[in-house]
């Protein structure tokens, strides 16, 4: 990741420390995580100690300091979802993929995360897979969803 690739993100924001969160948001969106190298660049270009960049990047949940899997499965654990069994769905994901929330599978295919309410409470329990929102989820539905993603990915690899 050379300096030029986050140039466009830093455009118009140089020497403005208060733009830090916006800059990190854009880096997260583009690369899926905030690398050490990018943190140094941001520190230099925005004009703040690198510890401050690291502090902010490690404080907010939106930022991941490690690369994330190809498919990110986010399970909502808000109150409405909890009362309708979000824990079962979290258990299903952990059990089926063998990882806890916040971790990535060894093959880099899946990351499981939990979020404290995405605001679709009427449809609880809710699971977001990449950018699609699935509602009224059950462990069974999640099992099928994960299986279908695994199948699709294997097919893609086979076709390459």
């Amino acid at each position: 990741m050379s300096k030029t690739s986050i140039d466009s993100i830093l455009e118009g924001r140089r020497s403005q420390p208060n733009q830090l969160i916006e800059v990190l948001q854009d880096i997260q969106e583009k690369y899926g995580y905030i690398s050490e190298e990018n943190m140094f660049t941001v520190s230099k270009e925005l004009g703040m100690p690198v510890i401050d960049v690291y502090s902010v990047a490690s404080f907010y949940k939106a930022f991941s300091l490690k690369p994330r899997g190809k498919n990110v499965i986010t399970i909502c654990t808000g109150t409405a979802c909890h009362v309708r069994g979000a824990k079962l769905i979290l258990n299903q994901a952990s059990g089926q993929l063998g990882i806890s929330s916040g971790e990535m599978t060894d093959d880099g295919q899946f990351t499981v995360e939990h979020v404290n309410c995405i605001g679709a409470c009427a449809l609880a329990p809710v699971v977001t897979e990449n950018d699609t929102c699935h509602h009224h989820m059950t462990p069974g539905k999640l099992r099928k969803l994960i299986k279908s993603i695994q199948k699709k990915d294997t097919e893609e690899v086979a076709n390459e």
Binding site: P17, N18, Q19, L20, I21, E22, L24, Q25, D52, S55, V56, F59, Y60, K61, A62, F63, T77, G78, T79, A80, C81, H82, V83, R84, G85, K87, L88, N91, Q92, G95, Q96, V115, N116, C117, I118, G119, A120, C121, A122, L123, A124, V126, C133, H134, H135, T138, P139, G140, R143
Partner: protein
């Protein structure tokens, strides 16, 4: 685009829009709110568009996509204006019939109508639906009338009239007085009198002042702000511009949480549209007043809903609250006087200016005026967004509007106010939903989340859930919150796992009291409420966990075990296939059994079994 410089120009602009639409014989309104969107309302919209074009009636039929209507359980929703025919659970396949029958021939489609669960009869129009009838939708009703990405829609229904009136007819001091007289209190949870906040900020020394809209709606189970911001962003903008004029601010910020990308997008579009028409920016309405708004995104931190943490986040720093010995109306963003209000608070302002403070104050109870939007979720039939007069009894919301619990379960309690609130047991459902009554009962209205809990909810587990949430979201700066909440969670986990002692109850109470007095910010100060209120009203459940090592609701994993009821088991094998720990064995069509040594009590089998053959011991 020509900027609007006078009241007359606004009226002319409005008349032009209405004129352009006079050929419309009907409008099809499709709810595009998050709930309906997840139910694929977009496909319904596409199908309707296609059908309208195919039948060649696009000149007289207008299709409007709106934000959330509130009746999320029944989506996708379609309303046909002008008669307001109400169709629910609409699928893309219904598009053809809707156009040919309802639009062309004025026939209603029986099977798409809502059926009243009490009378069993179908209901034709939106206003007759019991869910809507018992509400007072001062703000939410507008969601049906506007496409959030159309400033024309907003102006057509009278939008920005209040702004014109405020800038051209009323002095800033009078506006502040109107807000004080209305009795409006903060809708984000604090309930602080809005007018008083504005007055203090207006009087604070300094020329540089700010207004902020707090759209960091973090309470799990609450999505009111999301729907107002996504569905009617101009309402919020108008409120903020009026407020900025009253206080003397020239720059505003809308801080939207990271998890609401659609709200960010819609409000960005709205800001641009307002700027293009001269309703934001330099010389608004031709006056010397200039004001602009910047949108900022949150980073995924519940604590940033706290005002000083939000301001720190806006300044590009970690969202750690700071002590408020000097209030933010004097020393706020960049150390300047700042007025921070919640989305719903700002949304109430245009109505107060337009209809007057006495209209607003005519609704509600003594200490809580106006209406409040609630998010009704959990073990309830009609989940969705509801707007009621302040002071409406809880039972009206839960039973008349919510329809009671599904599957005939018994409702045990409601949890209000998010993690800072508490639980109210069913025998107290006569209590009015207002700031003071709920506070006295050990809870609070908070931002408006109402989560209904039935007999299968364990109150110890509920307290544990909220403590876990707060521990996750704590910024970690101060000792009482960082260490205290952690220890409370440790103790309650002991209780939930069957290792509780009776002394734990008094320790929880004492620790809770200490945290509430000594924590630095609101998150910490209210952290113990979940425990305190459940201990207050459901002490028997705690005692059952401690003395009898039993979980009466059958939830706490360590205290239950699962087994298969041979009478109900059909041997279908669904549980066997579903178990991620391979703890179930059995042959096809024969009674299955659970190996208790492998069973992790995750509960998945129980949720999948259609014959209720998995029993909890």
């Amino acid at each position: 685009m020509n900027k609007i410089k006078t009241f007359k120009e606004l009226e002319e602009f409005r008349n032009k829009i209405i004129n352009n639409r006079k050929n419309n014989t009907s409008t099809i309104v499709v709810c595009g709110g998050t709930g309906c969107k997840a139910s694929r309302s977009k496909d319904v919209i596409d199908a309707l568009k296609k059908e309208i074009n195919q039948q060649g009636i696009s000149e007289s039929v207008h299709l409007r996509t709106t934000g959330c209507h509130g009746f999320c359980e029944q989506g996708p929703l379609v309303v046909i204006e002008p008669k307001n025919i109400f169709y629910c659970h609409v699928s893309p396949d219904d598009a053809e019939e809707i156009i040919s029958k309802t639009i062309q021939n004025n026939e209603t489609i029986e099977r798409l109508l809502y059926i009243d669960p009490v009378t069993g009869k179908t209901i034709e129009t939106e206003t007759e639906v019991p869910f809507y009838k018992s509400q007072d939708r001062q703000i939410l009703s507008q969601n049906r009338q506007v496409d959030p990405c159309s400033i024309d829609d907003y102006i057509a229904i009278g939008g920005y009239n209040a702004l014109g009136k405020a800038l051209l007819d009323i002095s800033p001091q009078s506006i502040v007085q109107e807000v004080i007289d209305s009795g409006l209190r903060g809708r984000g949870g604090g309930g602080f009198p809005t007018g008083r906040k504005w007055a203090e900020c207006r009087e604070a020394p300094g020329n540089e002042k700010y207004v902020i809209c707090n759209a960091d709606e973090g309470d799990p189970g609450a999505y009111m702000d999301r729907c107002v911001l996504e569905g009617n962003p101009h309402l919020v903008l108008e409120g903020m511009i009026i407020g900025a004029w009253a206080i003397g601010a020239n720059q505003g910020y809308i801080y939207v949480r990271n998890e609401y990308p659609l709200a960010v997008e819609n409000v960005r579009i709205a800001v641009k549209q307002a700027r293009d028409l001269g309703l934001l920016g330099e010389n608004i309405f031709g006056t010397s007043f200039s004001f602009d708004i910047e949108i900022a995104r949150g980073g995924g931190a519940f604590v940033c809903g706290e005002s000083t943490a939000l301001m720190a986040s806006l300044e590009g720093r970690v969202g750690e609250p700071r002590p408020k010995d000097v209030h933010t109306v004097i020393d706020g963003l960049w150390h300047k006087p700042t007025t921070l209000n919640n989305v719903e608070t700002w949304a109430n302002i245009p109505n107060i200016i337009q209809k007057g403070s006495s209209f607003f104050a005519s609704k509600g109870s003594k200490g809580s005026k106006g209406t409040k939007i609630l998010a009704l979720t959990g073990c309830i039939k009609n989940t969705g967004l509801v707007e009621v007069e302040m002071g409406t009894p809880i039972k009206t919301v839960v039973y008349d509007i919510g329809g009671g619990a599904p599957k005939g379960k018994n409702i045990k309690a409601v949890q209000t106010g998010g993690p800072s609130g508490g639980c109210i047991p069913v025998d107290k459902f006569d209590l009015p939903l207002d700031f003071d009554a709920l506070y006295d009962a050990g809870s609070m209205i908070g931002s408006g989340g109402v989560v209904v809990m039935d007999e299968n909810t364990c109150m110890v587990d509920v307290a544990k859930y909220f403590l876990n949430f707060l521990q996750d979201e704590s910024c970690g700066k101060c000792v009482p919150c960082r260490l205290g909440v952690d220890r409370m969670l440790e103790i309650i986990t002991e209780i939930s796992d069957g290792r509780g002692k009776l002394e734990h109850i008094s320790l929880l109470e004492e620790l809770g009291e200490t945290i509430s007095y000594t924590a630095l910010c609101g998150l910490g100060k209210t952290a113990a409420n979940a425990v305190t209120s459940t201990l207050n009203y459901f002490k028997e459940e705690y005692e059952a966990h401690i003395k009898d090592k039993k979980c009466p609701a059958g939830v706490c994993q360590e205290l239950i075990s699962y087994s298969i009821d041979p009478e109900n088991c059909t041997g279908c094998g669904v549980c066997l296939r579903g178990c991620p720990h391979e703890a179930i064995t059995g042959e096809k069509k024969k009674v299955h059994s659970i190996n208790l040594e492998l069973c992790q009590k995750c509960g998945i089998c129980r949720s999948e079994c259609k014959f209720e053959a998995i029993i909890v011991n």
